[in-house]
């Protein structure tokens, strides 16, 4: 902000902002005074907007901005003055400034030069056509996503094949690191969740089936449901939430800081170093976790069976043994590596889609989890129909 008097500033408050219009001979004069800074700009703008632009009665009338009363002026104030002057000029009133100091003159000239009228529109604005376009993009987006994911599956498969044929390309350290993070560290939470859900299903089953006197069939229900669906689904959902999101965040923040580009320029293939170990680790780990989940579901159910049905461990296992057989177990387990593949692919792909901003990282992490869970459930439904139609 420029002050009229350079040198020592007295600690008095600047005069209240303001202006008035005078007619001096044949000149309309805007006499401005006080402080014209960004703090006063709202009031001044309101006042100036209410002011009607003077209409010159004869062409020899001129305009004048007398700013000799202005104590403080900054860009915002200068912009207001120039805007008013421009408005007056547009009405055919030749307008000049008077009472300027050297500093004010430089500032006013700079602001006049820089006040551009041409502005690009912000494409983000809402409009009917914009809305329709967004819908269009959203609908075709599903198709494009599918193409992208399929393409990525192909790329990952190609990478696996390359690694298999050139085994030195395999990154054991990274692979083991991800085994630890996605697998070993997920054991407690998956065990706990599965046991709880198993217990809940058993308890609800017993309560509901008791009305028919068929409460012992609750064991059959828990056994079959756990092995075929609950174990693998819960595991997949937990892994998508824990590891899928972590994959996206890790790869995404590397993308943000151009680390991935740096890798490419160093001749390191990010598919080999980042994607393959993660996806491979998940494919190994998710079946193991699913097995754990299955067992914990049965354990949870067993605890409830003891409480509600009075079955002790031996009797529970005996009942279970009669109720289930291996095909139920395999029907569940077969889905695990595919779920792992889906989660790994979606997590890594979303990470690679991250662009520069922090917001984009958050968006893709969320979208990785949502997409992975959605796809796993859709896939599970398709599998369930297929397996029952072939009689497993």
């Amino acid at each position: 902000m420029l002050k009229r008097h350079t040198g020592v500033i007295l600690p008095t408050r600047a005069a209240a902002p303001g202006f008035r219009i005078e007619l001096r001979g044949t000149a309309f004069c805007l006499v401005a005074s006080g402080s014209w800074t960004v703090r006063e700009v709202t009031d001044l703008d309101g006042g100036l907007k209410r002011l009607r632009v003077p209409i010159p009665p004869t062409p020899d009338f001129t305009g004048e901005m007398d700013i000799s009363g202005i104590e403080q002026l900054d860009t915002a104030g200068a912009w207001l003055l120039q805007r008013t002057a421009r408005l007056w000029e547009a009405r055919g009133l030749k307008t000049r400034f008077s009472g300027m100091t050297e500093g004010f003159e430089i500032l006013l000239e700079e602001v006049r030069r820089r006040s551009t009228q041409d502005r690009p529109a912000d494409e983000g604005g809402a409009s009917i056509s914009g809305l329709v376009r967004e819908w269009g993009v959203a609908v075709t987006g599903v198709g494009r996503e599918a193409v992208l994911l399929t393409g990525f599956l192909g790329a990952v498969t190609a990478t696996f094949v390359r690694i298999a044929s050139q085994i030195w390309r395999f990154r054991p350290v990274s692979f083991v690191h991800h085994l630890d993070h996605t697998g070993f560290r997920a054991v407690p939470i998956i065990a706990l969740i599965c046991a709880l859900i198993g217990a809940v299903i058993m308890q609800q089953g017993v309560v509901q089936l008791r009305t028919f006197g068929a409460e012992t069939f609750a064991v059959n229900m828990v056994g079959i449901l756990s092995l075929r669906e609950v174990g693998v689904l819960l595991t997949a959902i937990m892994v998508a939430g824990r590891s899928g999101s972590a994959f996206t965040a890790e790869i995404g923040s590397m993308k943000m800081r151009e680390e991935i580009d740096a890798m490419r320029t160093l001749g390191i293939d990010p598919m080999e170093t980042l994607v393959a170990p993660r996806v491979l680790a998940l494919i190994v780990v998710v079946p193991l976790l699913t097995f754990l989940g299955d067992m914990m579901c049965l354990v949870g159910g067993g605890l409830m069976a003891q409480v509600y049905l009075g079955l002790d461990a031996a009797a529970y296992i005996e009942t279970l043994h009669n109720a289930i057989d291996m095909r139920h177990f395999f029907a569940g387990m077969i889905k695990a590596p595919f779920a792992a593949l889906i989660i790994g692919l979606v997590g890594c792909l979303e990470g690679l889609k991250v662009t520069g901003s922090a917001e984009s990282l958050g968006f893709h992490v969320t979208s990785a989890v949502v997409k992975a869970i959605f796809l796993v459930i859709v896939f599970d439904a398709v599998f369930a129909m297929f397996l029952s139609s072939i009689g497993i």
């Binding site: 020592v8 006040s115 551009t116 502005r119 690009p120 912000d122």
Partner: protein, 266 residues
């Protein structure tokens, strides 16, 4: 000629000190950055702060702007001791300065225009149309084209990010701007443009500029005065010309009279 002019400027402005630092000490763990540091910044000058890497130039900037607490010493800004300020006074004071961080530190989830409007939103209550007009004006003043307004920081080049960061620092027409290595990482032509931009803005807006820099060209083209950080203190201040004539310190001698300095001066 430039020397007599800058000396005049210094003489005229000696009367008003906007930043006065006295007896500042700071250490991180066992590492002492400065023992007792004194520094004055006068109204309307461009002060360059130079010194070897790791001498604590960036830390000094952060201490003055209140981001890091010093161990001892006083800092008076606009003749007020910053430690005595209440919360509201501190917020008011922060509206009177702007900081350009080394890589711009723009908010990545906001467009350039929104970035420039952040201080306006924080400190003032302006209608959106005025904020837009002012932000476009600031954009033009730092030499960015209007098309850059709706871009996001990740879509800008390094030089554009610096300009956008400067526009944000100037958003409220501050009295002081702090610049941390404004020309680092720019090509020589871009750096020289940026120097002239700073000079121009300083004259137009009556700014006081505190500039951390390594760039000899910047020092000779824009700085009225230079403060040299070495040996855990400010060893010398003076116009670039004075420092070049009478270095009186090995580091200054090396810096101002070395090969690169001769090239910059030529």
């Amino acid at each position: 000629m430039s020397q007599t002019m800058s000396q005049e400027i210094v003489a005229n402005r000696e009367s008003e000190t906007v930043i006065a630092v006295r007896g500042l000490a700071k250490s991180f763990g066992s590492q002492q950055i400065w023992k007792s540091l004194d520094l004055d910044v006068y109204r309307g000058e461009v002060l360059g702060v130079v010194g070897g890497s790791g001498q604590g130039k960036s830390v000094l900037l952060r201490v003055i702007t209140g981001l890091v607490k010093p161990d001892a010493g006083t800092i008076r800004i606009f003749d007020r001791d910053v430690r005595d300020l209440s919360r509201e006074e501190k917020v008011d004071m922060e509206a009177r300065w702007g900081v350009l961080f080394q890589d711009g530190a723009l908010f990545s989830s906001l467009s350039v225009l929104q970035n420039i409007q952040v201080p306006m939103r924080e400190h003032l209550d302006l209608p959106q149309s005025i904020m837009d007009d002012l932000a476009f004006l600031k954009l033009a003043m730092v030499g960015l084209r209007p098309e850059a307004a709706h871009k996001f920081p990740s879509e800008l080049s390094g030089g554009m990010r610096k300009r956008a960061g400067l526009a944000r620092a100037l958003s409220l027409d501050p009295e002081i701007v702090f610049l941390d290595e404004p020309t680092a990482g720019l090509d020589p032509i871009g750096a020289s443009e940026f120097d002239h931009l700073i000079r121009k803005l300083q004259q137009t807006l009556g700014l006081t500029v505190y500039m951390v820099t390594h760039d000899l060209d910047s020092i000779f083209t824009v700085c009225d005065r230079v403060a040299v950080l070495a040996d855990n203190m400010i060893v010398k201040t003076g116009t670039p010309e004075q420092l070049r004539r009478k270095p009186e310190h090995p580091w200054i001698e090396e810096y101002f009279c070395g090969e690169r300095a001769r090239a910059a001066k030529a």
